[in-house]
Symmetry: C2
Subunit: 221 residues, 2 copies
């Protein structure tokens, strides 16, 4: 069995990935990156998901928001519903930075797997969620890993949700008894999920397709 690190954001995808990782690893550690996102509710969700799994959560503050302009950190408005092309919620190099941090932490913990809940079926069109990016990142980050350079043993990037639809992700989560009510997908920073942004729209449509009620509270419902 492996030692793993899960990049936890408190969203539906990373939470389901965490539950998968917990089953696959003899030891699991969660890493949350606070990067200036307006939806800090993500941290609360990550914390509660980690607690529900009995997994230690490490939080690191990396103010990517000081380098980029994105609606997720407040410099632009959050677009409502799906966009054409790469939307304004795009945070440049977010997964590059997250994966590099996770690989650094993996070297300390001697972990051989880094889990990330990327998905490129029902997603917002972010370039760093595509399979070719993940494959390339695995090659690059291993080249800068002491163990790989010394022994040739790779740290693997695990993306169990990559090719699943959101509907399938919810079904997998149901099977693993993921507490969906603790997760948070909304791009806005409100008390309740807005139900209208790209992320909420994709989530709600998927719950409807599965035929169950999303246990999360939404504004105006």
């Amino acid at each position: 069995m492996s030692k793993g690190i899960i990049l936890l954001s408190g969203g539906l995808d990373s939470s389901v990935t965490a539950y998968i990782a917990k089953k696959e690893c003899k030891e699991l550690n969660a890493l949350f990156v606070e990067y200036g996102q307006r939806h800090i509710r993500e941290w609360e969700s990550s914390s509660r998901i980690a607690e529900s799994l009995g997994v230690p959560l490490k939080t690191i503050s990396v103010p990517i928001s000081e380098l980029v302009e994105t609606s997720l950190t407040g410099q632009k408005a959050v677009p409502m519903g799906p966009s054409d092309g790469i939307p304004d919620t795009w945070v440049p190099q977010r997964n590059s930075i997250f994966l590099a941090l996770a690989f650094a932490y993996a070297e300390t913990l001697e972990a051989d797997r880094v889990y990330i809940g990327v998905n490129h079926i029902d997603y917002s069109g972010y370039p760093d969620c595509r399979p070719e990016f993940i494959e390339s990142a695995q090659i690059t980050l291993n080249m800068a890993s002491k163990r790989y350079v010394a022994t040739g043993v790779k740290t693997r990037i695990m993306t169990p949700l990559l090719q699943l639809s959101k509907k399938e992700i919810i079904r997998v989560g149901l099977g693993l008894e993921v507490p969906f009510g603790l997760t948070w997908s909304c791009y806005q920073g409100g008390e309740k999920a807005c139900g209208k942004c790209d992320s909420c729209s994709i989530r709600l449509a998927a719950f409807e397709a599965v035929g169950i009620q999303d246990p999360l509270e939404y504004e105006g419902k």
Copy 2:
């Protein structure tokens, strides 16, 4: 002419690289990453080098030291003189993190070049200073770049010192009138450079080989 970002650490290599970049770019911005290093003197040097070039310096705090154990952030002693293999001053994924941050910033500034002062001739044996890592990082980071995905135009990682000896780097710096006295290479956090750590040893030997005096003050001299 290009728009560039220079990853400035205040060391001899990144300072010489900054002077090269200034000549090659119509616009240059410097980025300093404060990562918990014990030699915070690096920031002062970066600031003075950026000032000497008339280049804006952006500082971002990314506490890599919370994820890793390295002598550069105080968890281990700084080794004296050269080491076999990868020394304890190794900061896992440092250049992966720095380059990912610089590419994020490049997307905001619409820069098409990221300069980094890596060198793999007279160096400490860090895996993320090798040419194969840099090439791979350029591929990976462009895959997560909006412009590359939309237009196929790459952001290039510029490594003008990669194949130069430290002696040659000093000669290039002399030609560009780099104020070497403002740079800082020592791994320790003292008032004066220690003259004994790996980084000081390489630097002092190179100045001696060039046949000029290092203008930096050293302990006990």
